[in-house]
Symmetry: C2
Subunit: 442 residues, 2 copies
């Protein structure tokens, strides 16, 4: 028997330690993957990939270990002396006098990961995703995506939200039977959750404010640049709101926190990808009917579907508020009732529209939210009016029957939010291992 404690012996150096002001002149031992090798004759540069950037190591011929045994993607441990070198990334290099090979690749990489662009198509890069992600730019997108989710959690936690985990296997979906993945669950039919909607609403009567970050599953047969069949949803639900504008203020607060967090802690990744952070100090809110009228008039495109926005209409509305107000975001409010789910609160002054909103970010919907009906009678009347089958909704309805606070919430698609933030053309770029109609691997 021995005792395990948290005491660690310092064995290897991280990049930020090497970049410290007083590091030059010190001995260090560093682990990393060989990203690139530049043989200059007398000197060979071996560029190591570390989790937070790259490090230049220098091997001098005839003086210390021989780097010619190395190949790209070998994992190594290199020891030597840290030197200041303005031409090196971060202004540091490691002058190597020790080399230990930790693992060797069996084959050269089928895709370039050290240059600025791999040159490969999206399809190829997705087929080779475990390898293509080793590229610094591809990797950086997911570091920023971490920040998008982290900001959501940190901001809401400070606002008194409790993080919950609701089941992904269930007996029925929140929005009815369409677009559900079906499975057999111990000889019973079951479905994958297309949203934590019912659960988060029920939990608003327990914790008042809840959030969840988790996967949702939609068997939609869309094959577009903005749809995934499995994605990560940032969900929140809050009780005792005054009206649905509370939710828009909360989301604005989150977005402001997000941009602060990214500036503070994700600056290298933002710089690498050349990202310009959006304006988040104030966001225009405009009614659905007005937004489409303004965009239709300005751009001369007639309104087609009367009850919902088409993707190109979202783009024009985004463009309108970008041009007219310099706004990256716009809340579109008061969507028509008939295109919103049964639980959406109708507007008191006009029951044909709802106390709901979408948030468009640079012309694409990234959030749907709104106030929910909390009165049991009103809810059951709505369900009856729509001719819905309530089988499997017993627990949900019983929560309302036994008293629910006024509440509302929203859901943000993590990948879409990241896509718009980074200016990517395809949402698959910002899903580590995307799932679409054709893609089930890797």
């Amino acid at each position: 028997m021995e005792w395990i404690t948290t005491e660690k012996e310092k064995k290897t150096w991280e990049l930020k330690e090497i970049l410290a002001e007083d590091a030059p002149g010190k001995r260090a031992c560093v682990c990393g993957a060989v990203q690139r090798i530049r043989d200059m004759g007398e000197i060979t540069f071996v560029i190591l990939r570390k989790r937070d950037g790259i490090l230049q190591t220098v091997f001098e011929r005839g003086n210390g270990p021989d780097p010619s045994v190395l190949s790209k993607e070998a994992c190594v441990q290199i020891s030597g002396v840290i030197r200041a070198e303005t031409r090196a990334p971060g202004g540091r290099e490691l002058y190597a006098d020790g080399l230990r090979i930790l693992s060797r690749p069996d084959e050269p990489m089928p895709i370039a990961v050290s240059g600025k662009q791999s040159g490969a198509s999206l399809e190829t890069r997705l087929d080779l995703r475990p390898l293509s992600l080793r590229g610094l730019r591809e990797r950086a997108r997911f570091k920023i995506q971490e920040g998008v989710a982290r900001a959501f959690r940190e901001y809401l936690q400070a606002e008194g939200f409790t993080e919950i985990h609701t089941p992904k296997i269930g007996a029925r979906g929140a929005e009815g039977g369409a677009n559900l993945f079906r499975l057999e669950y111990f000889h019973r039919p079951a479905v994958l959750a297309q949203s934590p909607q019912f659960y988060k609403q029920m939990m608003a009567a327990v914790f008042e404010r809840v959030m969840e970050i988790g996967p949702v599953f939609r068997a939609e047969k869309h094959n577009t640049r903005r749809h995934l069949n499995e994605y990560v949803s940032l969900d929140l639900e809050m009780a005792y709101l005054t009206d649905f504008t509370d939710l828009m203020r909360l989301e604005t607060g989150y977005l402001a926190y997000l941009t602060r967090l990214l500036s503070a802690e994700y600056a290298p990744e933002l710089a690498l990808l050349g990202v310009t952070l959006p304006q988040t100090d104030r966001i225009p809110a405009v009614r659905f009917s007005e937004a489409r009228r303004l965009a239709a008039e300005k751009y001369g495109v007639p309104i087609r579907s009367p009850y919902d926005l088409e993707p190109d209409e979202e783009q024009r509305i985004g463009r309108y508020f970008q041009e007219e107000c310099g706004a990256d975001f716009v809340f579109v409010t008061h969507y028509p009732s008939r295109k919103r789910p049964f639980y959406t609160m109708p507007s008191p002054e006009d029951p044909e529209v709802t106390e709901s909103f979408d948030l468009l970010f640079r012309g694409m919907e990234v959030t749907t939210g709104g106030q929910r009906i909390h009165d049991w009678k009103m809810l059951t009347e709505r369900i009856a009016a729509r001719g819905m089958d309530t089988e499997g909704m017993e627990a949900y309805l019983s929560a309302f029957r036994h008293g629910m606070p006024p509440h509302g919430g929203l859901g943000i698609g993590l990948e879409r939010m990241t896509m718009q933030l980074l200016g990517e053309e395809n949402v698959r770029e910002v899903s580590l291992f995307p799932r679409d109609q054709r893609r089930l691997t890797p």
Copy 2:
């Protein structure tokens, strides 16, 4: 059009504001659910349930609003004056002069949520989970569970880990074909992820250190007090470890951080549930063969299965180290190879055992972890020796073929960890909406 900013008008008070030292004498307006009503004749106490505790409000007969219109689980907004009152919870009460009913229940609750124990069986409480969770004690378990997950994330983030999201629908499972939930994915067979194992390993070559908190799905036909068919897994994987003891030190660090976080920020819930936090400053580590020998000798129970621990054997090993060292946790190391997955690193000095461990917490396994094989040839030889089918593993294997760092990781069952922390008898107590062979709703 209007502008949405983050500015909020202060409308209602939260409990912590009412508990502030300078609060007595101030006017406040409070929202909450009616937890209990005590009619004393001249005076009626209405106990409000808030997200962070309860608040006593006082209605005086003939002076202000009439509380007789209220019933349990009504949601209300009460205004009045804050008074210091040592007999009230938290030493404060609200002397009411205004009452607004926000919603009324249609029916009395079928289960008591205001007393210390509801008296109802686990099955009944799970059937009525959206309602039973309104009880303060049931709710408190999930607040503490939030802390368990939050500590994992915060601790690892400070250690340089990146949080990732890997797909839950895939073409095959990490541990082979057993215990998988199967579904149809656009006319193709697919499975639900029983672990993010392959993905987190592949990502160790990208981010070096990754973590994921997400659902995992196991179609095991166990029906025990410690199994769920869907649970939340806290996963991590790290590159460039020296050996697998690095992982045990990291987990010990997490547990120490967890107990500090719970003490600091979850004290009311710990007190409500009477939880004694475990010792986490040092944890004994003992080899599998030695642990079972010590427990078998001390308690006179012969060893049955030679390659794995039975639940009652885990209990005896936990008891042994509790009695002999006062330890709540024990790492059991060097499990036999034949009971560990193919990717587990064999021990250099004895290939019949592995560089792996389980963590037992008060006699129950809450973590499995270990170093993985990183060498492509060694991995493929292992796969061949086990006669495994590699179909669907192409991407995983290609990551090794193209160079993997030495790495290892672990997975913690969130519900089991919470169960042992709280001393619950059944893991279903600490799953918001548990999924087992019989239970697919609510």
